[in-house]
């Protein structure tokens, strides 16, 4: 299961992919921004499909970079500004492959995962976010 309702445990993810033969580890964290009075984002998902799709994305990454171990956790539910909603950790013998695999996985996540967010604002208002891709 790659989806959780708890704060992301980065140290656990690192422990899962790191090993002495992997000299480069790349960590990507996506965190909730406090734009425009946003206090938190409520993340929801088509959970069964999102989990399957994450498996497919990781399997594709493994096929493309066989030496890289990459792992992904996405948090769901209400996440306060400043806390992480997604963590991707890629460990490889050398840094190029670690960066490439990590970048590839986050871009596929953005395109393919059935996950949605509703912004919660300080004034009590709420708004669904329609995709806009700021890299």
């Amino acid at each position: 299961m790659h989806l959780t309702r708890h704060p992301l445990a980065i140290a656990d993810l690192l422990a899962e992919v790191q090993s002495p033969e992997r000299g480069g580890t790349c960590v990507f964290l996506g965190t909730v921004r406090n734009d425009a009075d946003i206090t938190a984002i409520d993340y929801s998902a088509y959970e069964a499909m999102a989990d399957e799709e994450i498996e497919r994305i990781l399997a594709e990454a493994h096929e493309r970079w066989p030496d890289v171990r990459v792992i992904l956790n996405h948090r769901l539910g209400v996440i306060p500004a400043g806390e992480a909603s997604i963590a991707i950790v890629a460990a490889a013998p050398h840094r190029d492959a670690a960066f490439a695999a990590c970048r590839h996985v986050i871009e596929e996540v953005k395109k393919r995962l059935p996950i949605w967010k509703k912004e919660l604002r300080g004034d009590g208002s709420e708004q669904w976010v329609e995709a806009h891709d700021h890299r």
Partner: protein, 82 residues
């Protein structure tokens, strides 16, 4: 006739007023036919875009994909994960 289950998520669930339902269709039918039927049964969903993203049995599909008895069609607002 085929009975196809339909799932709505996020804003589309608010438009439909529910998150799980089912529609009956003449066969052969496609995902596009399911969406057309959904718009009749759940008038709120007429506010969905003309060609929403859809999944058939938990996989991304184009709207011309064929549906069969017992299939599940999910209607997916634009993704915002990450």
């Amino acid at each position: 006739m085929a009975k196809v289950s339909v799932r709505f998520f996020a804003r589309y669930a608010e438009l439909a007023g529910c998150s799980v339902s089912a529609v009956n269709l003449e066969t052969p039918a496609t995902v596009a036919d399911v969406i057309e039927r959904v718009r009749e049964v759940f008038p709120g969903t007429q506010a969905m875009p003309p060609r929403p993203l859809a999944a058939l049995n938990q996989r991304h599909v184009k709207l011309d994909a064929t549906v069969h008895e017992g299939d599940e069609v999910a209607l997916l607002p634009p993704f915002a994960g990450g």
